[in-house]
Amino acid sequence: MTSLDTTKAGRGTGSLSPLFFKRVLKLVSTIAATFLGLLFVTFVIGRVMPIDPVLAVVGDKASKEVYEAARVAMGLDQPLYVQFGVYIRDVLSGDLGNSLLTSRPVAEDIARVFPATLELATIATIFGVVFGIPMGVVAAVHRGRWPDQVIRVAGLFGYSMPVFWLGLIGLLVFYGILGWVGGPGRLDIFYEDTVPQVTGAILIDSLLAGDLEIFNNALSHIILPASVLGYYSIAYISRMTRSFMLEQLSQEYVTTARVKGLSETRVIWGHALGNVMVPLITVIALSYAQLLEGSVLTETVFAWPGLGFYITNALLSADMAAVLGGTIVVGSVFVGLNLLSDLLYRLVDPRAR
């Protein structure tokens, strides 16, 4: 009874109850544990690999003394738990090691390529929201009839298509045959490095520089990879919207609204969809996180110079520091978005406080 009372009091005054802070604290500790687990896994992966990290640095012609000296310098003579402690300290201070491929700090490399991935995933998520939500609503309203079936099958196609193959077919048709869009890369080659980098997102930077020509070129390059990546997002968001909407449409307040004489449009798009938006926040955040990950394959196909492209290039040259650094960054964003969606959910839905 008491817990119910506090919830009521909390809602009445519009303030956040102590229970809310307790839950947030619990959430933060969960996130910390998850992050620690992520670091543990990347640490283990870095240790199980068959390539000797010392040999990779000193070369296989080094004498025993040089090899030993390098081993001590890299801290590999320490017990594993000490090495793990050092590893955590390094990562927390932003040191992800040096890349073999670019011979620069991995953190610097990632900071340089990340905006491209973020730009791509953001546009793809916008596609997912703009198309996915209305499709889900339409499917729920016409449940079991042909619009529902069409949307369902379109969604299943999205789940079943290998994203890298869809990208290749898209390039073949829209770039190779029709010539409607720009090819691989973020810009045509003669536009490269002509825009002053402010945010790292070319669409925004070119607008800031007032250069519409570059903006259009960048748009023609991003539209195809973003659509390919967004297809999955559309499928996911529309499916979730549909199931949330079905739940809402069977509620009594919907009947009440109809009895009151509200138009069907207002009932569906105003009342029901408004309540669906709360759980949808979580879905959108999750799909955004998945797109950041899905960009690994899409970026490889479109030679899109983002994090995914960076990771796959590092993979092919056995550059483990770069691979693990990329994994940590993607993992952290994943965990961060989970936290964010959970917090937003609690803020928006008074029942969750």
């Binding site: 079991g144 099958v153 196609f157 789940y159 079943s160 290998p162 390039l171 073949l172 690994v296 993979l315």
Partner: protein, 309 residues
Amino acid sequence: MTAKTVQTCEPGLKAWLTTDTPRSRGQARMVQFYLGWLSLSRNPLAMIGLAILLALIVISAIAPWISPHDPLQQTLANRLLPPGSPGHLLGTDELGRDILSRLLHGASITLYIVTLVAATAPVLGLVVGTLAGYAGGWIDTVLMRLTDIFLAFPRLVLALAFVAALGPGIENAVLAIAITSWPPYARLARAETLTIRNQDFISAIRLQGASPARIIAGHVVPLCLSSVIVRVTLDMAGIILTAAGLGFLGLGAQPPIPEWGAMISAGRKFLLDQWWVATMPGLAIFVVSLGFNLLGDGLRDILDPRSGQ
């Protein structure tokens, strides 16, 4: 629905399968299975999915006999022939190998990957989930915290990192997929175990002196199986896509094995002029993955009507 079927059916096997007073546990299970099958067979999309999967199994079994050519045989004089060329229905690749033969042989590799993942990830999840659910207390807390941590990881990127460390190859790719995909099964198995744990029949077995290991392995796990199997079917399309993605990045099956993802990767170089080399294996992946999705969707409709329909 049940009553009507019982009234109209003929005596014999069908009556035995549709009775509402089964005489043994085996019969009860068969009745349940048959009624599930009846409603699944009314769903044309699910039936298409089932047909695709059966075709995959049959093709991978008889591929050596129906393939027009040896999938590994290179004939450089015949390289990059377009589809419809004499003797090469779907054309040839950059080394003059027959694409149709390679696709047919690739079916067994896809099936091999699917089977290996299905035999590892759910088993690991079942062990963790039933143990956590049955034991409770701190074991439950530790195991579930571990599951949550793994659940929050980016699966594809983590699988990539694992394969990069272990070295490329089908088995390592499967291992990486299994390591990153067991947590949902553990969650599911734990939830099922919690509902089973406190039932009277479990207490009865415990009073008879059965050990926890025996109770879990002999009584809890079998009851969790059906929901785990449905979940595996639903996940299989994603697993096929991940495996194909690893192959595409050169981390899965190594050449000259005709793995579909690796075939797309090889065909990528000729995309604009010889489109068929990359397109055909992609279609194969799409069809198989669609088959799993259609069947999984149908199964979910039957077992959890609330989420579908």
